[in-house]
Symmetry: C2
Subunit: 140 residues, 2 copies
DNA sequence: ATGTATGCAAACGATTTGCAGGCGA
DNA sequence: TCGCCTGCAAATCGTTTGCATACAT
């Protein structure tokens, strides 16, 4: 199912700003801030407004087409999200991101923590940070 | 080793604002924004400035005495950090946080991801979100 | 045709910076 | 004493809101 279809089924309209945001993120392949999306988006759609980027991201995130990436310093980066539960792997040098699936690997850890703390774990946030293979070679 | 000693050994001075920030976070036991720290801090130290809260947090974080907590909506919460590598467990209702140690539980997952993606994983961000036991009872 | 979504301008709020004076070591 | 650190005021930057118009359905 295409993203347009997913958006539409969720009750939202397919508009130019939303299309542009998706296209920019698709090409980027790394987290982009609203500002960056705006600047790149203007090259595709001249009259794009920054406000529409914010509002598009809000909608796209709610529908699950886009996700926010948390870094120690910045938390304003957005990337395309695949359907389902995924975690991300982020290259600290070039910013490239890769998704990898699964929460199942954490189930042991979660069960253990629940037992020890009495918490009931409902959700989690996991990101791996490192160097992608091209960056491993180009810098030592 | 006390936090004062850790701060001092890292080459920083022990000052009133820094003391106040630590004290406020100690008492809170949940993530507090700079604003919240500032408001509570003023009750201890009348002439405390918001700017000093920001600057204190910056130093304390660099030294590893304080850490930032990432939530879907807000990323401006700070809590006390224990020495060493810890993850946090956050109650989505009352905000209480608990730390739990260890990266070893992720080593299997990490090795697997490295193999599949060619990334070299150096660091990670993990937070568990759920309900602490008091909150499990008081709300159904 | 209808009401959602847009773009602009302005409001808003959080964080940072410049600077003169204060205080920790 | 020396220079790091503070508090204030103002600058800055990211994000949100109000509103009239444009466009998707």
């Amino acid at each position: 199912m295409s993203w347009e279809e997913r958006l539409s089924r969720a009750g939202w309209r397919i508009t130019t700003p939303r299309r542009v945001v998706m296209q920019v993120l698709q090409r980027a392949g790394r987290p982009l801030s609203p500002q960056e999306i705006y600047m790149r988006g203007r090259r595709i759609h001249r009259s794009l407004g920054l406000v529409s980027v914010y509002r598009s991201l809000e909608v796209l995130e709610r529908v699950g087409l886009v996700r926010r990436v948390h870094q120690e310093d910045r938390c304003d980066g957005y990337i395309l999200a695949s359907p389902g539960h995924h975690h991300i792997l982020l290259c600290r040098r070039c910013g490239r991101t890769v998704e990898f699936p699964g929460a199942e690997d954490l189930s042991g850890l979660i069960a253990q923590v629940e037992q020890r703390t009495g918490f009931q774990v409902e959700d989690h946030l996991l990101e791996l940070i490192g160097l992608c293979s091209p960056c491993q070679r180009s810098k030592s």
